[in-house]
Symmetry: C2
Subunit: 315 residues, 2 copies
């Protein structure tokens, strides 16, 4: 059976019909039931939304200035300096990370100045002092799992997967999940500079509290997954320039005209619809489940729904 033309391709086996599609949907393992109506959708803050443009398409990263204020400022400065334009993903290991932003030949420049680690923060407790308490805003926490394999507690903080070592105080940090964006570094915790990575595989949670997570991909993970891989047994390093995926541009949404932006909305992880989705995913009460799975949730396996209202950019 030939496989030459689009026309042949569409007719080799069998036609697409409505009946076929309906059957196919029935043959489908369940992803999630969630009451979409109860979801609150938040637009992205244009001052903390980054457009990473690759040959393969546009990736949108939401920055997190609460957990990594200095790193976010530094990253924005690098973007403003057009530092990443024309750099590449030079280390890409399938199932692990895609790493870009090599700054090795600009040591001495401001960009290469090492960054202080921002691995975790103290849970922000209400100050005892009444004056100070006035400026205090509580941190939101949508609990997902206690006694998670890697942490005492996991949950969401305004859309970001996170973990804690105490549910009242203690430390809190952003977790390494698929789509997590963090700064690479040397052995010195304070050695991050320009190299960053995106997690593209099963959550490497052992990196939590060891690297500065400063953002997450909210749109275009399919584009990220098309980044060219290096050889896993050679630490993912891609030596030949032509075999790498190159960065065309990195821009902050607020630096673009409204008409150039993607109109993306992300589900509010504090909203009733999201809480219901968590409950449904934990209970799995659909009759599909012949064996009822344990009532646990992996914080990295809970999708935070996102939607694109309008697209002005070509994808």
């Amino acid at each position: 059976m030939p496989w030459d033309t689009g026309d042949t391709m569409l007719n080799t086996h069998k036609p697409t019909g409505l009946r076929r599609l309906l059957f196919a949907v029935a043959m489908t393992i369940p992803l999630a039931c969630f009451a979409q109506d109860d979801l609150v959708w938040n637009p992205l803050d244009a001052d903390n939304a980054v457009y990473l443009e690759l040959q393969e398409g546009t990736v949108v990263i939401q920055l997190n200035p609460v957990f990594a204020p200095k790193t976010v400022l530094h990253f924005k400065q690098l973007i403003a300096d057009q530092f990443y334009m024309g750099t590449s993903f030079y280390r890409v290991i399938d199932g692990f990370v895609a790493q870009a932003g090599d700054g090795s030949d600009i040591d001495g420049s401001e960009a290469a100045a090492p960054l202080k680690a921002e691995f975790e923060i103290d849970w922000p407790l209400k100050p005892a002092d009444e004056e100070k308490a006035k400026d205090w805003t509580p941190m939101s926490w949508t609990p997902v799992q206690s006694s998670d394999l890697f942490a005492a507690y996991t949950g969401f903080i305004d859309g970001f997967p996170a973990a804690r070592d105490d549910d009242k105080a203690g430390k809190v940090w952003l977790t390494h999940c698929p789509g997590t964006v963090a700064m690479a570094r040397n052995d010195d915790p304070d050695s991050g500079a320009t190299d960053f990575y995106i997690v593209i595989g099963q959550a490497p949670r052992y990196l939590d509290r060891n690297l500065t997570v400063f953002g997450r991909v909210v749109w275009g993970m399919d584009v990220v997954q098309r980044i060219k891989r290096g050889p896993a047994l050679k630490n993912g390093i891609i030596e030949a320039d032509l075999e790498r995926t190159w960065i065309k541009q990195v821009r902050l949404a607020s630096a673009l005209d409204q008409a150039q932006r993607l109109d993306i909305y992300v589900a509010d992880t504090n909203s009733p619809g999201f809480l219901q989705m968590l409950k449904d995913r934990r209970e799995r009460s659909q009759k599909f489940f012949h064996y009822r799975p344990p009532e646990v949730l992996d914080v990295c396996q809970v999708p935070v729904p996102a939607r694109l209202e309008k697209s002005y950019l070509p994808r």
Copy 2:
């Protein structure tokens, strides 16, 4: 700065040099240290290796006839019948699964006959009867984690990630990890027929013991990750034929001439090198680790190394 030609691309920012590459490697978060020398490498059994050929490249799937004997036979028959040739990945959700093999318009044919579920097996205990004990071979078990979030025990069985509810007897099953290949079904546990899926994101372990896992991708996960996605909010269904990734061919390695095969070796998960790798990944004693992570392992986050000795097929 223009981004028009390959030549421009390579010169926009800075040249590639050895020094740059060395620095880049140093800036690198650690994947794994393993004593590659102590790894035993096994060739794939040609009777249980499947070549799934997509426009994007070749994917190699290792079948598991121990856990899913009937499903494997059925799948091989479908391959021999060229059933999958010219079918498509019609339901693809980034971070979840890529599903293909719709058989809705061939109901009544042998291929569409529903398959008995093969969700789990009894741990094979040595028979008390001496005669029967002669034919018995113990099952290998490389322990990874006890008190895993989703199961009492996780480990590897001859290269496949697996879980158990008892470390002496009980049930044992193959887990849903990135690269896991399983049969889709309806609500009826015995309704699988031709539709299969490949896990492409964070392990959906809640599907364990609910679907028949019958293989895993051992080569070409980067190709799988290039499969075109559908809209997550529409259950990943891709309605337009031209927006789907189509299957050119599916063939069993043993049906190919030696010269057409990929010479792939997979690390033996019973070998000393692999045990050492598990230990290293659990302990994380490198000085990179400022914060020492908990000594736990996610069975789906342990890569089983594979290597390609020779390639005769274009990739």
